[in-house]
């Protein structure tokens, strides 16, 4: 990867729940709040729809970071989906560490539909952190 001259631009896959975080992203857009374009958003109905295999798939295909967005605990549209999502993501994070993939590459945020600004801010923060971390070790494969 000969990108010494250009700054490294991480590729982020974002999987966000329809009711909260995806709506927050919409809100950030309609509010004209800026955030980096590195993230590609995928909408699911609930954060618990996210099979850890999706995250592994994204990483294995070269994503530098994966962003998961769901409803605040207690606010899940389906009552308790986000609790399952939390456990899955946290357990996956520990396993990624064993795989030699920095746990910081997986980010879980609760953003309600009203938190457009928070969404923009956390995505910006995540992008900057990934720039520091550098490309995913799986990129070279």
């Amino acid at each position: 990867m000969a990108t010494e001259k250009k700054e490294f631009e991480p590729l982020i896959v974002g999987i966000t729940c329809n009711w909260c975080t995806y709506a927050a992203a919409d809100l950030a857009g309609t509010s004209r709040l800026k955030y980096p374009p590195n993230i590609r958003l995928i909408r699911v109905m609930c954060s618990s729809r996210i099979n850890p295999a999706f995250i592994l798939y994204a990483l294995s295909r070269g994503a530098d970071g994966v962003f998961i967005g769901g409803c605040h605990p207690g606010e899940c549209h389906y009552i308790d989906g986000n609790y399952k999502a939390l456990r899955r993501i946290e357990l996956l994070r520990r396993m990624l560490d064993q795989f030699g993939i920095e746990p910081e590459r997986l980010r879980l945020e609760w953003c309600s539909a009203a938190e457009g600004a928070k969404f923009a801010q956390v995505v910006t923060d995540f992008t900057n952190k990934l720039k520091e971390l550098g490309p995913s070790p799986l990129r070279s494969q």
Binding site: Y57, S60, D80, L91, M95, Q98, W110
Partner: protein, 345 residues
């Protein structure tokens, strides 16, 4: 043996790669039925047992072997060479056993690489006396002028289908009796009728998870709050589900077909029959299912456990996610191997 059935015998070949030999031994557990196999097949290749030369194999016509049963994972250059050769010479190639099908236990070496393994095996282990750090060489000329070679040791272990095209899979470490009988049955059927199962089929295993077979009784809707390491639970109820009792059991994410032998002696499943067809990544499937049922409260009482810190105590009980969830299937997982830090820079 030597019985003529009026039908031509098929040509059967067995080969082994990075293996322990258990698959060959397991085949013998079909006991006297081994004689039935010999009556329908001429074994043309079996390094453990029969007159076999690599040159003989090379001289065989393409597709002249009807069925080749391959056990073992691929981790040396020699394995790849033989895999390609046997694929060319065989009509049907079966990945037999967990190692060939998923990478198996040798696949756990994907947590490491050649450099690390050599350093530990040939330098760091407690009994090794090797001050000059001599290591096996792929090519070497001795002081006497003799040229010797060894096959190349790869960094990454592969399943057979990551090296060549595979027709069928027989899972298990080793495949258990019913699975082996199913394979013998498929061979016999092939000899009698010429029919084969659809390509890619898993022979001798169910597409449902092990729980369907396991006689233990499950409690509906139970959450697991405490995970026990096997030595921490002195009294294991022989009737109740092991996962319900807090022993991590991979049966919920693993194919059935083995008869739940390990649970029958109070030991939980570790997944040697591999993932079902419904699952893309064995470890991720188990991780997801386990995380779903891990919790202090029932589903309707979970309010208040919404942060990583709160679930930390729960998750700390899962000691070795990678090594437990991918015990037999690391090479075929999505990530395939551990990313090791570069030594330099």
């Amino acid at each position: 043996m030597g019985e003529e059935k009026g039908k031509k015998k098929i040509k059967l070949a067995f080969y082994w790669a990075a293996t322990c030999g258990g698959c060959d031994v397991a085949t013998l557990d079909i006991e006297e039925k081994i004689l039935d196999v010999v009556s329908i097949a001429d074994i043309v290749l079996w390094p453990v047992a029969m007159d076999f030369k690599y040159k003989d194999l090379e001289a065989m016509a393409p597709k002249s072997i009807d069925v080749c049963v391959w056990n073992g994972a691929c981790r040396l250059s020699e394995h790849e060479e033989l895999a390609k050769l046997l694929r060319e010479k065989s009509k049907v190639l079966i990945a037999y056993g967990a190692c060939a099908a998923f990478g198996g236990i040798p696949g756990l070496a994907n947590v490491s690489n050649k450099e690390e393994i050599f350093k530990i095996v040939y330098q760091d282990t407690a009994t090794t006396v090797n001050p000059d750090f001599v290591t096996p060489q792929e090519e070497l000329v001795t002081d006497g002028g003799d040229k010797l070679t060894l096959p190349e040791f790869w960094n990454t272990v592969k399943s057979l289908d990551q090296v060549v095209d595979v027709d069928y899979y027989v899972p298990g470490c080793p495949p258990q009796l019913d699975t082996n009988l199913a394979m013998v049955g498929a061979l016999a059927n092939f000899v009698a009728t010429g029919e084969l199962p659809p390509k890619g089929a898993i022979i001798g295993a169910s597409d449902k998870c092990l729980c369907e077979e396991c006689p233990r009784k499950r409690e509906e809707g139970k959450m697991i709050e405490r995970i026990y390491r096997p030595y921490e639970l002195k009294e294991v109820d022989p009737e109740k589900c092991l996962l319900d009792q807090g022993l991590l059991c991979m049966g919920i994410a693993t194919r059935g077909g083995c008869g739940a032998k390990c649970p029958s002696v109070n030991m939980s499943c570790r997944g040697c029959y591999g993932p079902s067809s419904q699952v893309r990544d064995h470890g991720a499937a188990f991780l997801s299912a386990l995380a779903s049922i891990l919790g202090k409260k029932t589903e309707t009482e979970m309010i208040g456990e919404g942060t990583a810190e709160e679930v930390k105590e729960l998750l700390d009980q899962v000691k070795d996610p990678l090594g437990t969830f991918y015990r037999f299937s690391l090479p075929i997982s999505m990530l395939k191997r551990v990313q090791l830090k570069e030594k330099k820079g």
